[in-house]
């Protein structure tokens, strides 16, 4: 129940964050009621761009007293509508909180405000700490480090070091009641260097989609950046041998990133998987050794190595791989969404078969991608649905396709990743009832008024 009317709430918000950083103007609400994915637009009441932790605390208190939903937003680029309010409310765009607070070179961590983008951190380290690199996704550079870490993101270091959520050392959070919580070593020490050794509550905030609080500081692990980086590109005919081939490569401990792409174009490549194995090293000899070792495994498994040059190589070597965004224009329509998921390695052939069937059913060019995570302990698998935003039928078709892909992934034993509302519902249906009950209880303790991104992970 609201006690203040909208104008009064606007006034309160303006008092907290300043008039320039609060809006309920039609244009702003229009933009923030959508994301670049296929979700339908949903109404927003206010957009606020806070600058400080204190401002956020005040906004949280106001939201509690007025029972207004709060939706934290980084770059807003998950494509699955996670920052579009389900029940209206205030979108908290955190981009003004963009300070790199500390780079601890020796202890190899970065302490960041939540608005620091992946692009800016990467550029900052390249310029000031060229021997270190951050874990970043292939998302556009305005994706935030926090947003990506919080949703179990993955990128070019994930095969070697694990998914990005596992690289969080610590969090400062404005909890849904307005108190500040500290998690990880920062709860005990002035160093933000480790998750433990204390009970690990950081997991409560990952893949929570903003339902457990607003992260105001995040410490992440940084990694050495070897002098050289290169890739091996190739093809496999048929897909049944892929899990073993992938596994073999991971056993060498030589690859930084391993990806498989599967498409339908050109026709001749329909039964081929495209392999991309990235490796890095500090000397030419080391690189040569790694290349030869990995190429031998390709050969042993009858995979063909193809030298890459020119624009194709430049695109695949870029960090982030900007080519990932180009699917948005495949149907000349300004958008795509993919069902991402985590699946076990052994399921790659089945995922290819079923992902291809779904893509064809929806009249799409098949575009499947696999990225190994944590030396093959999991695989990120995605089915991409490009659409034409100006064609409402295409949008409906896409949403149906996404739902089918969610279902298929759950059937083969995987779990949709950064799932949109439909995907979340399907996951909850399959989820162990006791997990659900416990999760719901914890959530109610954290957020008694249900103000944090309600509608997401909603256990009925």
């Amino acid at each position: 129940m609201n006690y203040l009317n909208k104008d009064e709430i606007l006034t309160q918000l303006e008092k907290i964050s300043g008039r320039d950083f609060v809006s309920n103007k039609t244009g702003d609400l229009f933009i923030y009621s959508q994301d670049p994915g296929a979700s339908e637009s949903r109404p927003v009441d206010f957009v606020v761009l806070p600058k400080t932790v204190e401002e956020i605390q005040k906004i949280v208190k106001l939201a509690n007293s007025e029972k207004i939903p709060l939706i934290p937003m980084g770059g807003g680029l998950t494509l699955s509508g996670l920052i579009i309010p389900v029940r209206g409310g205030i979108v908290l765009d955190l981009k003004r909180m963009n300070q790199i607070l500390e780079i601890n070179e020796l202890n190899r961590y970065a302490l960041l405000e939540p608005g620091v983008t992946t692009g800016m951190l990467k550029a900052y380290l390249s310029e000031n700490y060229p021997e270190l690199q951050p874990p970043i996704p292939d998302a556009p550079p305005s994706a935030t480090i926090a947003g990506n870490m919080l949703i179990h993101g993955s990128g070019s270091l994930s095969q070697k070091y694990g998914c990005h959520s596992s690289m969080i050392n610590g969090l400062e959070v404005v909890l849904p009641t307005g108190e500040i919580g500290k998690f990880g070593s920062c709860a005990v020490s002035e160093y933000w260097f480790s998750k433990g050794p204390i009970p690990d509550l950081i997991g409560l905030f990952t893949s929570a989609f903003g339902t457990m609080g607003i992260i105001t500081k995040i410490s992440i692990k940084l990694f050495p950046r070897p002098k050289f980086r290169d890739m091996i590109f190739g093809f496999t005919k048929g897909f049944s041998d892929l899990p073993k081939l992938m596994s073999k490569i991971t056993f060498t401990e030589l690859a930084e990133d391993i990806m498989i792409a599967k498409g339908d174009v050109p026709e001749a490549y329909k039964n081929f998987g495209m392999l991309m194995v990235y490796f890095a090293g500090n000397s030419k000899d080391e690189m040569e050794f790694k290349r030869k070792t990995i190429e031998k495994i390709f050969k042993d498994h009858k995979a063909q190595v193809v030298p890459l040059v020119g624009k194709a190589r430049e695109r695949l070597m870029a960090e982030p791989q900007y080519g990932a965004a180009l699917a948005a224009d495949w149907r000349k329509g300004g958008g795509f969404e993919y069902v991402g998921s985590f699946i076990p390695l052994e399921k790659i052939p089945e995922a290819i078969e079923k992902g291809t069937t779904i893509s064809r059913k929806y009249g799409l060019l098949t575009s499947l991608l696999f990225r190994l995570i944590g030396r093959g302990h999991a695989v990120m698998f995605s089915v991409t649905f490009p659409f034409n935003r100006s064609d409402s039928k295409d949008m409906i078709n896409t949403r149906k396709g996404l739902e089918d892909a969610d279902k298929m992934i759950l059937e083969i034993g995987g779990i949709p990743w950064k799932a949109e509302l439909t995907g979340q519902k399907l996951i909850l249906e399959k989820m162990d009832p006791n997990f659900k009950k416990l999760f719901n209880n914890i959530r109610n303790i954290f957020d008694p008024n249900g103000i944090m991104n309600p509608g997401n992970w909603e256990v009925q």
């Binding site: 950083f21 809006s23 103007k25 039609t26 244009g27 702003d28 229009f30 933009i31 923030y32 959508q34 670049p36 957009v47 761009l49 770059g75 807003g76 680029l77 765009d93 981009k95 003004r96 983008t117 992946t118 692009g119 800016m120 990467k122 550029a123 900052y124 390249s126 310029e127 556009p140 550079p141 305005s142 900007y322 080519g323 965004a325 180009l326 948005a328 224009d329 000349k332 329509g333 300004g334 958008g335 795509f336 034409n388 935003r389 100006s390």
Partner: protein, 390 residues
Amino acid sequence: MTSEVSQDWKSIVHRCFRCGYCKFTHSYSDFNCPSYKEYKFETYSTGGRMWLIYGLINNDLKWSQDLANVLYACPTCGNCTENCKFEKFKGFLVDIIEAARAEAFNNGFCPENQKFLLERTRNSNNYNPYGEKNSDNSELKKKYNLPEKAEWVYYIGCTSNYRQQDLRDATLRLLKKAGIDFTLIDEHCCTSPLIRTGQNEIVPDFINYNINQIRNAGASKVITSCAGCYRTLKKDYEKFGADLGFEVFHTGELIKKLLKEGKIKILSNYENIVTYHDPCHLGRHMDMYEVPRDIIKSIPGIKFIEMKRNRENAWCCGAGGGVKIGYPDWSVEISKERLEEAKETGATVLTSMCPFCRTNLSDANKKFNMGFEIIDLIELIDQLEIEVND
């Protein structure tokens, strides 16, 4: 000649994905879109604008002053075009914003400040956006002893003729010194400020007028020292369906050619630390990056240091796209950021090749007490001793 730019943009505007590459520098080190950096709401990114425009076309939104203001709060610097990853679409971004501004104007939502541009320019006493009495340039022709007909026309442009006369005079002196066969015409505004702000009503007439004047002068080549006029004459006139029948050059191009051919040689030393600001209308809009640098490098004794963001990556001065007149305070703030970057180079002289950039950078220099000498490259050359060889 058609009075409107092509309507095709309506069928492609939905193709913007709002991925946000357009907001950054090449290395992603910072936001390089002045509007997004200032206003911070997603609405003020180029993607935000594309989506608003699509919303308007689609009737999801209705025209309002607030929406029009978002479209106008952009110096159309072209950083978005430079960084957009969609090759088939990126070239249209600035055109789409300008075309949408024309729609805003037609719907009665052109902001008050920018309306002055049209009112002053269409006034038959002026024909320029500064509201100054029109100069037919006959005095200058007399002073410099210029013929009625010549191979070249020096198109002065309103900013140089009514505000930055030092640049006009330096250009005249240089052309004279170099023995170029040129003359002047009785100019109307090139219409850049009108096109940039979507006020296209009188644009075709002005284009016709200027083209006829140039033809009547018997010229096969036009030269200008103004980046805005250069872009407009060379790119926009054809977009509006005009058949020029003459070539268009920036003065810098001519100087570079004369230097290269040995027709002129700079003799005196210029012992200052200098940095160069790429005007958007010359750089990102027209791809002219090396001409000014080649000229600078031919100056004996000069110490030239680039700013961090240079060439395609340059930070805009904030004067273009109607921002100087529409948002005067913000406009100089944008220039302030440029001057701060110039300070990092250790330069004492900031040079450029656009009178509009010069005005705005000078305004910021004064307002924030930054202590630079800000000078157009043509003026800088004019100060030096030059040997002319036939």
